[in-house]
Amino acid sequence: MSKSKQTLLIVGNGMAAGRLLDELIKRDISGFEITVIGDERQGSYNRIMLSPVLAGETDVPAIIGKPSAWYRDRGIRFVSGVQVKAIEREQKCVLTTEGNRLRYDHLVLATGSRPAKIPAKNQQLENIYSFRTLRDVDRLLNVARFHDKHGRKTDTDALVIGGGLLGLEAAYGLALKGLRVTLVHRSGWLLNRQLDKAAGTYLQRVLESKNIHFMLSDEVERFTGSHELKAAEFKSGRSVSCKLCVIATGITPNKELGLTAGLQGDRGVSVDAYMATSDTSISAIGECVEFKGATFGLVEPIWHQCTTLAERLCNNIKRPFENSPVPTKLKVSGVNLFSAGEFITTDEHRELLYCDDQAGIYRKILLRDNRIVGAVLFGDARDGQDYFSMLQEKRDVSDIAQYLLMGRAFYAASSDEPAAA
């Protein structure tokens, strides 16, 4: 083994790790001895596509981007199904749960995040799942396949907790499998982190038509059952019997590995604009990091993190990472929504609103100083990207304000040539 090669150790083999490898290979990995340790069994896969898998719109092999052979072919050591327990920074090595130590010259933390816990009691009961990994999806698909064989009569087949993107995609997938689904959400409207109430209500209307029932402004207090889940009891006093439950209320960064090793951080492992932690030999990317107080939950900024880190490691070029806002989309067929930037109207905003109740189309654009600071689209999300670019460019839209909501086809025309008769 040539001495000149650096040992690059990546902990976690999810989407960030996979993308980082791509970026490194794109550049030059001849100077590295690369090892990836991941506690999931598969090679890096497209986690985003778990929703379509659950919905039966695609299958598992199609989303595994990097099977074991991929690593082998590129001379990358892939340690699968192994968890790292601790980092020993003085020795520059990590300790696995099996007690093995692996040395590194440079360590990358890409441990992602895990489903957030909810305060409800009896979460240990059987048939309560989260929605994060291939294994979760496997198990869900399995119960879904046999749900009608569980002879028990229940109020609903599946209870989904959480009306965010994940919860909605889980509920949609299960409903497509023929399960009766009830979704519980703590807030008064769906996607309350991305949508205003009007758009949330439109969304609810569409999903109701896809056979999903909703319980808003409510929370599960406890689950009941002996070891199998029987029912859920709610803060409101209601009780709903069910066969299975999916908890998708949010994510918690896997920061503990780094923080116990003494790296700085709070909600995640802190990084600078070049993805370096407080230890210059350790970098971090993905959902486990905290950057200027922000954590991450969508892949787009993570891709930029990977480029920044690859540039630094391979070429020693410092290209700072910028955390720009990311628009929201929901992967439910037949539901078009888009949200970017601010989405709750306040007195400081100028609000432009398009409402077509009959067609179920809703569009809202928030302006400050005649610049777009937020857009919420429902029913027809076609122009989302365009609004988003204008938001990023901070373009003054006063001249096209009255055509803005109708989309590019119109404001482009109105600004080029003042509407010929």
Partner: protein, 894 residues
Amino acid sequence: MTSSAQLITSDRPQEVGTTIQTTCCYCGVGCGVDAQVQDNQVVSVSGTQAHPANLGRLCVKGSSLHETQRSPDRLLTPMLQGEPTSWDTALDYAAQKFQAIIAEHGPDSVAFYLSGQLLTEDYYIANKLMKGFVGTANIDTNSRLCMASAVVAHKRAFGGDTVPGCYEDLEQTDVLILVGSNTAYAHPVVYQRIARAKELRPEMKIVVIDPRRTATCEIADIHLPIKPGSDAFFFNGLLQYLAQHGHTDVDYIAAHCNGFDEALAVAAEQVPTPEAAAEVCEVPSGDIEHVYRLFAAHEKVVTVFSQGVNQSSSGVDKGNALINCHLATGKIGKPGATPFSITGQPNAMGGREVGGLANQLAAHMGYDNPASIERVAQFWQAPNMARDEGLKAVDMFDAIHEGKIKAVWVMATNPAVTMPDAGKVREALQKCDLVIVSDCIGNTDTAKLADVVLPASTWSEKHGTVTNSERCISLQKGFLSPPGEALHDWQIIMRFAEKLGFGEQFNYRHQVEIFREHAALSALDNNAEVALRGFNISALADISEQDYENLSPIQWPVTPESPEGTPRLFADGQFYTADGRARLVPITARLPVKTPLPNQVIMNTGRIRDQWHTMSRTGTASKLLGHVDEPYIDVHPDDVARFGLLEGDLAMLKNRGSVYYGRVKPSASQRVGEVFVPMHWNGKYAASSCADALVNPYVDPICGQPEFKHSPVMIKPFRQAWNGFLICSQDIRPECEYWAKITLDTGYKFRLAGGESLPCWRTWAHAQFPEISDWVTVEDSDHQFFRTAGFVGGVLQVMFSAATDKKSAPEMRWLEQQLGQATDASGRFAILAGIPDAGVEDEGAMVCSCFQVGEKTIRKAISDGCDSVEALGNKIKCGTNCGSCIPELKAMLR
């Protein structure tokens, strides 16, 4: 009496694809029209080649005759107190009430108010019923509003109401003076003929005398923008000039005229020099003298005058002042030399012939002669002959207002809009015990105030004669059956007469019988020994029904001596006065009654080219509104600045508690201190843009014609909080301070503006259309703009666009065409934008949903050279987010 079914003898439903020769019903030019009829509908029209009035030409109003026929507002059944009813019930009610009022208050407590839209036969029997049988001369017409001055001027000068010349004179003359006559707009085909003559003979001089630089000035060699109302000073000056410079025709005066010396004496004293005229008229004396010289130097001079001269508190005098000049020079009764009064309405002349005015008797006989009254009474076998003049239009409505007249029948006109001080007229009608309206349209502003509304026939159904400005009698043909239960006016009057107990004297079976009676009356004692009258159609007194049906246009007098008609009168210097001599009337010229205060301007009213009266007919054809589609105010740029107005903004004129809203049109053609407003808009077409409501009810003391052309009014900007427009399939009355309606092919368009406060536009708009629930709305929290569109069954019914500044949606034809059309969700975007999709290419099937990149865009990028997923990502971003479309991208790259 016969039943209505048998009464309709003149209706001739036509075979497929026939051509009918008839006349245009829009103006006093009286053009001949060839109408193509198919399936009981007029499908196209063209000008009749052989008609002397137009020789094949038609103006834009005339050529859209077929488009204005199917009015959605057409009245189909009699209405009693707003409810449909039978003819018998309606007429019984009307007749009984009419009789009761007469019994209690005498015959002078009832009145008829007619219109120049009626055919001569209609007019004749209405006049006969009132003056001979009801026993009152309270019968006047809206011709009073445009023609009365000329009638009296003619009578004073010629001893009868006779237009001496014919249209050919306008072409054959060497100097054509148009006074207060915007021929280009008011008499388009006459204008076309003049324009053509000028083209052929550029040496022919055209002089326009008008305070405004009207469209007619386009063909003028000289325009004299005289001070409003100063016309008579101009002509007095001319008379004096002619005398001073030896241009009078001494022999002619000696042989054929009276009163020359007296007239000259008054004129010379009042306007001794062209300079004196220039001072009053406020135009350079050089220009005035130039025109004087033209008049003096040419044998062939025609002076055309109409509303600008007539609608004045001294209209009669103005007419005589100009006729004096023609008499003094003998420029009358010769080809290319005549004074020429030109009428506005298609059959105003017919009304004058039968005597359908309060101060006339019948067939050119007047109340000034007791023998005439006796003669007519005998001829009619009239039991209750009215012995005195009745009340003229303005006085008539005053009397209604005062409760002296308690029953009025309004026929085919809309006085609630067209009368001066129209607001007061409305009030009067509201108070009146019995208001009967007969009209083809059921919802005119006047009909809305009526107790009984009777459905009348209209152009293409009516059948009878009309007379145009050059005394030419034509047959306006009925060739379609009136819809529903509508009847012809003469039939309605006849049935009413029967209910009053005069069935025996009013039992005509066909129009020709009325025509013959009228012709016979025109001939009665019409000779130099008793009293020579101009109107004489004795040669037609025995006309057969067949000849009547085939009547070729013919100019009266039509006598055994001139069976082919008479194009020119007075060629022999014989007039209709007792001594056969024309009379020059001494005229002391007067300026208008009221002079404006410092915050006032003088309002002048008139027509625009393509509208006709109160728009009740032409307002329904969208083509006609393309020219000028909103009430406006022509203002001189100096006044625009002085009163703080802005071009295109709304301004308001105020007088007598009424307001006229209109768009400010700066116009250097306007004199400073004077504004011009069109007279057409009324309560059906605008919230408050009825010019006549602001007109002071000052009338000419002799003829009772109101001073429409000169009303001092207050002017100020309308400070609008918002403006907008509304297009909709159904006609509504928007609840809004300002609105003006524009008829579209697909429905209606309203321009709107609101004063002080801003309404919640959404609530406002949706409240106008409570039946619509499917709305698309665009709102701006800053209230800079608002849009909403309403659909029923996916079909666009309404689109409303409002703004606080001037940024309304563009009013494109495209948007108007969408009314009544079904659209999909993205079509709705276009409707709210007000413009069609600017053709942003259809993306094809969506491939990258993160960045919304469609198949077509990707294929194009590939053909432009992108050969890998990365290249595509760099160029068009697809596949660079979630990556789920990468397999598809790869497949497309293969």
